[in-house]
């Protein structure tokens, strides 16, 4: 309802991007839009899959957190590990392996992998670019950025460009609404290292510049692109003043490690 009323207000003031209307918008997905598995050369259940020693170490750390009867809690972090190892997507053989490790029926892993938009089920490029399209970003013009990126990369939403470097995608709210519009770029280019960075306060030009810098091999500055520190307003700091050198006052918290006192002994 909220988005519908905003839409009606915006169309009256003619500030709005006219192309996408809510009645005609396609269902939003990131990665694979199909909710069914399709066999490809790299994505088949017959292929063997196992974590590399580096990822087994991390997987064992995750599994150690849960009791033996609660292993199923490890499915989501393990899916994340598998996605990093396979350079950006979870193939079906990895899902089957995870179901075997966690001792859950296979369908439970399918459910998890299809539910969370951050898991891709088809291969992506080296950099996965996801544009936030929730209400605050939409008001600040995320659709224009999307259009510009589509033109620049020469591919549509949900596709990879001809070089195999960038994949465009949509994303729901990332919690950086103060700095809208924003873009998330996850980096799968050198496997054991993985980064997942926010680029905020974008304009059409700065968004393209971020991508161009990455293409050139440079690392663009993470965070706001218009030069403001974090999410500071135009007036600067208006509350929470601290003197230089003084420590920030923490809220009160009881000593968690202290043992409870016996009331009878007090008396």
């Amino acid at each position: 309802m909220l988005s519908r009323t905003i839409r009606s207000v915006l169309t009256k003031t003619n500030k709005c991007f006219v192309n996408r209307t809510f009645t005609n918008c396609a269902p939003r997905f990131s990665g694979n839009a199909l909710l069914e598995h399709v066999d490809t050369d790299d994505n088949r259940s017959e292929l063997p899959f196992d974590f590399t020693p580096h990822y087994w170490e991390e997987a064992n750390k995750i599994l150690a957190k849960y009791p033996p009867h609660g292993k199923q809690s490890a499915t989501v972090p393990l899916l994340d590990l598998a996605q990093r190892q396979c350079k950006g997507y979870v193939p079906i053989q990895a899902m089957h392996k995870i179901a075997e490790i966690c001792g859950v029926p296979r369908k439970q892993v399918y459910e998890n992998a299809t539910f969370y938009a951050m898991f891709n089920r088809t291969p992506v490029g080296k950099y996965h670019v996801q544009v936030c399209v929730t209400t605050p970003c939409m008001l600040r013009g995320c659709d224009e950025i999307m259009e510009a990126l589509e033109k620049h990369l020469g591919c549509k939403n949900g596709e990879t460009d001809s070089e195999g470097l960038f994949t465009l995608g949509e994303m729901e709210c990332m919690g950086a609404c103060v700095n809208a519009p924003m873009v998330v770029i996850s980096d799968y280019s050198n496997p054991p290292n993985f980064s997942y960075d926010f680029y905020e306060d974008l304009t059409v030009e700065s968004a393209i510049e971020v991508l161009e810098k990455i293409r050139r091999g440079q690392k663009p500055t993470v965070g706001p692109q218009n030069g403001r520190p974090n999410s500071l307003g135009p007036q600067g700091r208006t509350s929470l003043f601290f003197d230089k050198g003084s420590e920030v006052q923490k809220p009160y918290c009881r000593d968690i490690n202290a043992q409870p006192e016996n009331k009878e002994q007090k008396k």
């Binding site: 809510f22 009645t23 005609n24 269902p27 997905f29 199909l34 909710l35 069914e36 598995h37 259940s45 079906i92 029926p105 296979r106 369908k107 439970q108 399918y110 459910e111 299809t114 539910f115």
Partner: protein, 591 residues
């Protein structure tokens, strides 16, 4: 005390949901996702009722009645809620009731008739879903699905084949078998009855019948020793569809696929006239003959071969027929054979299942002896599996041929030599019998090994004072009735025999022997017979199938059940007991 629709009821400490209590008091609350056999999901929202004091309405299937609650199930607010929720459910539902098989017995159709509004306010695009393939029995129309998730819970909790799931989220959520998994189970057909709309339908009867054309008959199924209670539906003197009978404890509103489609087997190769079959120069010749001639032929060969006259009893013969067979075997000096071996003790406990189906949840440890419960009695198997999910302290062991089951079995690999030589010390595996009390489920097929095994367990009892309970699981109900009548049976040792009299309505015979003359009292011509049995001359007498006349049967729990005539048979086929009586009288008069 609490108030339900302006009536005061006494509050009991037993926890009860609003929906269950209102069912007792005959107040109807509509529901889609709630099913008495399955766990509560609470996602269809049609069962919402008004509770005084709460800001929002609550779902009746999941809220427990509290002291002093004031509940309204028919107020104007509730009617308004139902209308609105039905509108939401119908957003993505196609309007194809005229070509839907479920029409006439569809919950969604009924409820939208009673509570629904006449038009939809939805203008936006509808959701489209790709179609799925589950099985060769189930026809799937996924666009009709309302996401009640009954099928998912049935596959998980009862059938034990978790192949379905909710894929995706939000508006785009759909029920699918993501990896195109198949639903391979003995009880897969129940998913058709459990689906409240036309998304899952019967593939075999699709586009062939309408609900209001059919006549209902209460009956039982004989392909299982449980004797499942079924509702047989007929149309123009033909059995068209079989459904589980509701409100019965024996099979809990579930039936196996064998019971659901048993009538298809009976339609093939029906015999209408008595005829002779003889093999001449490697060619099989058939000649029709009259009833008079066939009985004369019977006694001609009967008098010739005095030495070995064998009567073979197979499945699906009722109790009254068996009594006549017993008389016949005394008078005509028949030796009786059947594939079930005789038990040593005539105590009734030895050949029955000694627990109720309600008390299955009180069993803690189970031991299966030479038995595959998944195939022989899949409804009992489901019952065990369902209890196993709730309680984790089950110990289940099995011995014999290893078969995979829907739950985890601890299989004891003990060789036959070890059992034959009674080396108890070597059988360290059997220590389990000293620790806990076990319920032992057994079958009587290989009695030699079994008896030695029993002796062994009894010897182990010296170390502990535990009395294990024994349960007998029979293959069919005729086996139970044979034990009840204590019909003697004989092992066939020789290769050649002269005379065989066979009564079996429908089944394969498993004797690899040679006979000069055979009388088949049979309803369907079965080509598989010739693989297992060899003969010179055969006389076929047409009989009625068991559901074409009245019959009395006994259950695995020794419960008496009756089958009435469901379908009228043709003139020439005659009931089993009439043929047997004619033979008896003929023998008395013309001896």
């Amino acid at each position: 005390m609490f108030n339900l629709n302006n009536k005061i009821y006494y509050y009991s400490k037993k926890l009860q949901t609003i929906l269950l209590f209102s069912k007792k008091v005959n107040i109807v609350i509509p529901h889609f996702c709630y099913h008495p056999l399955l766990s509560i999901a609470g996602n269809c929202r049609i069962c919402m009722v008004e509770v005084l004091g709460s800001i929002k309405p609550v779902i009746a299937c999941a809220t427990i009645i509290m002291k002093g609650m004031i509940i309204f199930t028919n107020s104007e607010l509730v009617k308004c809620i139902r209308e609105n929720i039905l509108e939401f459910l119908l957003i993505n539902h196609p309007l194809d009731c005229p070509i839907c098989d479920q029409a006439g017995e569809c919950d969604l159709q009924d409820l939208s008739m009673i509570y629904g509004s006449d038009k939809s306010r939805f203008i936006e695009k509808k959701k489209s879903v790709t179609n799925k393939y589950f099985n060769n029995i189930i026809k799937v129309n996924m666009t009709r699905c309302i996401n009640c998730t009954r099928c998912i819970r049935y596959a998980d909790e009862l059938a034990g084949v978790p192949f379905l799931g909710t894929m995706g989220k939000g508006v785009n959520m759909e029920i699918s078998n993501y990896f195109k998994n198949l639903f391979i189970s003995e009880v897969s057909g129940n998913i058709i009855d459990i689906c409240p709309v036309g998304a899952l339908n019967n593939k075999i009867t699709s586009y062939q019948l309408r609900n209001w054309e059919l006549y209902n008959h209460v009956s039982i199924d004989l392909f299982d020793s449980l004797n499942q209670n079924i509702l047989v539906q007929t149309k123009e003197n033909n059995i068209v569809r079989v459904l589980p009978l509701k409100k019965n404890l024996i099979n809990m509103e579930l039936i196996t696929d064998n019971a659901r489609f048993f009538y298809l087997k009976m339609k093939k190769n029906r015999i209408f006239f008595p005829f002779i079959e003889y093999i001449n120069k490697l060619k099989i010749n058939n000649n029709n003959c009259s009833w008079n001639y066939s009985i004369k032929l019977f006694f001609k060969y009967y008098n010739k071969n005095n030495k070995s006259k064998i009567i073979f009893l197979d499945n699906y013969i009722d109790f009254l027929d068996l009594e006549v067979v017993k008389l016949l075997s005394y008078k005509l000096k028949f030796f009786n054979t059947n594939k079930y071996e005789r038990l040593f003790n005539n105590n009734r406990n030895n050949w029955l299942l000694n627990i109720d189906i309600n008390t299955f949840n009180k069993i803690k440890n189970i031991f299966f002896m030479f038995i595959n419960l998944k195939k022989t009695n899949s409804i009992l198997n489901i019952n065990i599996y369902n209890n196993l999910i709730n309680e984790t302290y089950f110990n289940i062991y099995s011995i014999g041929i290893f078969n995979e089951n829907i739950y985890k079995l601890n299989h004891l690999f003990i060789s036959i030599n070890e059992i034959n030589n009674l080396y108890i010390n070597k059988l360290y595996n059997l220590n389990i019998f000293i620790k806990n009390k076990y319920d032992i489920f057994r079958k009587n097929n290989n009695s030699n090994i079994l008896n030695k095994f029993f002796i062994m367990i009894n010897k182990l009892n010296i170390y502990s004072n535990i009395n294990h309970e024994y349960h007998y699981i029979s293959e069919t109900s005729t086996e139970i009735m044979l034990h009840e009548l204590s019909l003697k049976n004989v092992y066939l040792n020789k290769k050649k025999y002269n005379f065989l009299y066979n009564i079996s309505t429908y089944n394969n015979i498993e004797i690899n022997k040679y006979f000069n003359f055979i009388v088949f009292q049979i309803s369907n011509y079965n080509t598989n017979i010739k693989k297992n049995i060899k003969y010179k001359l055969a006389l076929y007498l047409p009989t009625k199938i068991y559901y074409e006349n009245l019959g009395i049967y006994y259950n695995l729990f020794f419960k008496k059940q009756i089958i009435n005539t469901l379908v009228i048979s043709s003139k020439n086929s005659v009931a089993n007991k009439i043929v047997l009586h004619v033979i008896m009288e003929y023998y008395n008069n013309f001896k």
